[in-house]
Symmetry: D2
Subunit: 357 residues, 4 copies
Amino acid sequence: MSQSMKAILKMDSRPGLVQKKDIPMPQITAPDDVLIKVKATAICGTDLAIYNSSKSLMHRMANAFPVITGHEFCGHVVAFGSGVSHLKEGEYVSAEMHIVCGQCYNCRHGNGHVCLNTVIKGVDGDGCFAEYVKVPASNIVLLDSSIPYEIAAYMDALGNAVHTVNSVEIAARRVAILGCGSIGLMAIAVARHCGAEEILATDTNDKYLEMAKAMGADRIFNVRNSNEHQEFIEAARSDSARQGVDVVLEISGNPSALADALSVVRMGGDISLLGLPNTNIQIDVADDIIFKGINIHGIIGRRMFDTWYRMIAYIKSGLREKLMQLVTHTFSLEDFQQGFDIKNRGEAIKVVFYPNG
Amino acid sequence: MSQSMKAILKMDSRPGLVQKKDIPMPQITAPDDVLIKVKATAICGTDLAIYNSSKSLMHRMANAFPVITGHEFCGHVVAFGSGVSHLKEGEYVSAEMHIVCGQCYNCRHGNGHVCLNTVIKGVDGDGCFAEYVKVPASNIVLLDSSIPYEIAAYMDALGNAVHTVNSVEIAARRVAILGCGSIGLMAIAVARHCGAEEILATDTNDKYLEMAKAMGADRIFNVRNSNEHQEFIEAARSDSARQGVDVVLEISGNPSALADALSVVRMGGDISLLGLPNTNIQIDVADDIIFKGINIHGIIGRRMFDTWYRMIAYIKSGLREKLMQLVTHTFSLEDFQQGFDIKNRGEAIKVVFYPNG
Amino acid sequence: MSQSMKAILKMDSRPGLVQKKDIPMPQITAPDDVLIKVKATAICGTDLAIYNSSKSLMHRMANAFPVITGHEFCGHVVAFGSGVSHLKEGEYVSAEMHIVCGQCYNCRHGNGHVCLNTVIKGVDGDGCFAEYVKVPASNIVLLDSSIPYEIAAYMDALGNAVHTVNSVEIAARRVAILGCGSIGLMAIAVARHCGAEEILATDTNDKYLEMAKAMGADRIFNVRNSNEHQEFIEAARSDSARQGVDVVLEISGNPSALADALSVVRMGGDISLLGLPNTNIQIDVADDIIFKGINIHGIIGRRMFDTWYRMIAYIKSGLREKLMQLVTHTFSLEDFQQGFDIKNRGEAIKVVFYPNG
Amino acid sequence: MSQSMKAILKMDSRPGLVQKKDIPMPQITAPDDVLIKVKATAICGTDLAIYNSSKSLMHRMANAFPVITGHEFCGHVVAFGSGVSHLKEGEYVSAEMHIVCGQCYNCRHGNGHVCLNTVIKGVDGDGCFAEYVKVPASNIVLLDSSIPYEIAAYMDALGNAVHTVNSVEIAARRVAILGCGSIGLMAIAVARHCGAEEILATDTNDKYLEMAKAMGADRIFNVRNSNEHQEFIEAARSDSARQGVDVVLEISGNPSALADALSVVRMGGDISLLGLPNTNIQIDVADDIIFKGINIHGIIGRRMFDTWYRMIAYIKSGLREKLMQLVTHTFSLEDFQQGFDIKNRGEAIKVVFYPNG
């Protein structure tokens, strides 16, 4: 293999990304290093925020520039360090790009997703928008050959959806999913796959809502329209024995969606929050949390590695076709600009790049 | 037994309560009615708010006036309806005063504490500040004769504490308990009894904090003092492997305590909320809930009847002496005014009345 | 309505059942009585055992004879007692036929399925192989009009399947279901509906195994054939990362199936037992339970009423067509003899009777 | 430090152990190796079985001889490999001696205690009956300086007790603990510490039963005496609302104790099994598991590392004094023979050795 490679980098805090063709290939230096030839990689919401130089991310990444971006991918193992005995060259893999310490209280309780010392590849260090990426062996996940590259390219995002859906009991539950961007759409498909009784989906984009139907939503509501918003509230409360939905998955980050969540969840129900509001939220804690006896769950990352095993299981047992529908655009990595443009225009769901042709 | 009795009533929305001596004794009318001669009854925070005519309670009770107040008590069964076969005259009992429908989704899942149709005796209908009280048979709880009347008088409040503590795993957990009023103090004793690793307690009243020590708090902090407040934050975060406490029990209702809760809970930790803020709370949902991956639990009432069995178990297996310490004042029911006065001055923890001398 | 009705009774411990046409209709006597006109009712395994005068059942029922048999049904409310306010005449209902005390520790913890004082209608007292049946109001379950009578007729059995499947985490799990009689077949459909990764099904009857495929089993094994039995063991262990299945649902009652369960479950896995062996089982507790760190769950009845809500949810959200396939024979109640004959010959899955034509 | 050390070895399958003084000190060879100077180490039941050449252990260890025995210890870090960054020389530590693969399904779900590829130091490879022991860094557990060496010496065994007790809800539960050898005694202390309502303890050795009282058992029963055995059964069932205990912890391995477990557990209760029967057990699965709706849990090892954190928490928050009482004998490692003799005679509870004087 050649010793330099092409990659897409964030050079500094100015908007946009830059392609370079002479980036040194990562080298195996530590005993647990694994080098992977990237087959496919996808744009995540965080990548778009990096592209657009969101303030909080630019602050976080200030000391990391220049950095290879991207953290969703699949590929094949090409080399590994002396301490790796459970992998073989050529194996088809993806990887968890949250690198965790393994030593803190949470890591030692099987809760690496809330490690106190997480480093995220593609944000805090070099990621996978490149021909090759290096990852610690313990973060590698073996994939089943039946999983298409285009789905395997975005398992990090799918993992957010699976983690959110499976953060609460979902079978036989009435579920409201707020936000039908790519992760919300995946969440609909996963909730349906896991036996949800009824799925109500909201968004402000009709195209996404159409896709929500295809993913398995029973009813869709464009909540930009105040009538439809009211219909959503009424539909959620229409079950007279519950007077609300059992579960709300808030994946939009929209403050008004969070208000909806508190409004439509039944007494004793669950709200799982994945969407990041960019402002503080006012909450009537007494009436909306305590008197209703509800539970609110903050969702971050993916369970290591329960979420990954779940993803593989769900894809193998029926989700593959739906998930393929979410891949609306594919490009060579060299055409990354087109991918980000179309994503910025809200026309795409998942955009996949092929870094090695 | 005589056909009229004395009782303490809220006549209308004006502050204070009124004693009457000619209230008709409750009569057994339904097959599942149980009549209890009240041995001891206690003032709860809600009773104090009714006495002081809190706006939200006056609004709720508008159609109930005049109403016999009080909802914490113990006593002996004196009569029951034709449908009651599991009780005997003279049995020592207390009762859950949340009357639930038994038919809604939550009731039929063993979650009566979040019944959609709860009616609270002593608020929405006649309560136990009286010589006799009538309760549905299914709400009666048999007590062990080893439980002193003075503790049995306040099991409703103790149940709030037990429900809050046992809403999360507590053994081997570092716990912060915010608010050392009577329920907070009980929560400290219960958390200690259930194997908490370390208990940090906060309040703004030094007398209550002294009692917190007696209940088993490892460290106490008067958070009105900004230095002590800072010490509390640092103590909570001092465990380097966790960088926070595992569990926060928020029992003060103070908005700044809720901010503390979000600040000191470790990543992946739990916050249970029992204290009722009287204003909306601003929350940084992204940083304080989602990125930390925490769980927030609204706590209402008592689990029916898991919480009641737990209370009896805890009292029998070691909590009795601590709980007796919390009964700082006792009066004849006729002297109810003194009880409310002392409670309003913040000088009492639990005030117990004896309605039948 | 007429004052006498036809019904199918067990008169004494001799094999067979008897039809009577002059049985007095049940009368509303208690405030919570509900009288239901039976639309459809189905033969359960217990009914067959009663028909065949199984020794243990004859022992249990000795003091109940003569008794109207049958405990799976649906119908419409025709009358109710003075204490019933949440039902209307004509409503479409089924009922839990385990009558529980509501007062024991288990009932008061939401675990009525393990009530210490359960009485089973159709076994210990009159059941539903009749034109009318009387049930306490708290046991009634409202049905959705979209549920066909033929499925609603056997919700008691479906509830056993749902209780068994949902006794453990099932989404993303590799599941072995041992025994493909009617409840085993339902369990396959439910496990598939709830997101199982892979379902391996065993039986000794090829016709049932064909139906297992239709219900969603990925692989079927006729374990009477020793080669296929070996293939089953190997298939269960073929996942190298787990070396066994995550979950075994034992629904056959066959001692050799229980041995298989212990053999194929992975370390740390779960076995749920519903099938009743008619002999003691020898177990290598050290090697097969303790060193493997597994959990074994005894399953009885249906969760009250979580299981019932789940059934309705699953039927409404996709299980209807599969469940209709299981109704292989329908008869007028007058032709009950044909139904039992065909069931005894192992030719039927679910046999449904229509008591009112 | 000197390059050879003294250690206690099993040379072959003949009974007894042998002391050697010229064993090469373990060397740091892998990046994650940690070398510990052993301060104190204790005899576990497995060590005794190795000493006595139990058949199954001799079979397992056939390829390991000669091997340094012992797997319970504490000590101080003296050296570590290049990959270890979170430890310092001199730190006070113990270690989990089950070395797990980190790659199998169970390890990757936070369930290393049921790793498919566990290797046990002191059984399958060199252990800690020596001046020094080498352990992988990920197995090291930092100890609090407040924990006495004598307790820290036996945390492996204490971990078995904690894992067993905390395998089920224990606060407010009526618990029967069968077997009052050292682990059973620890389990009593832990169950009391975690809020058990009532603890019934059985054994056949009066001295152990006396200690059971000291650990916190409410009632003790010498079940060798048939009257006391009957009293135990009656005491367990005496709670009329439950008709049994909520939880049985079977720590004796005695087949008749397992029969007792099934007999005294209430409907819907839990049995956790740690004691290893040396023969198959006959179980009436239908009556004793399924109709009772109970759960049975096989317990192996310690949760990694939840159990370890719990141990430290419990010792710090009140268990220290009780646990010190269990250390009945201490010896220099050179006098190991005395320790094994006294242990073989049933006169000791925990026997601690000091390998470095």
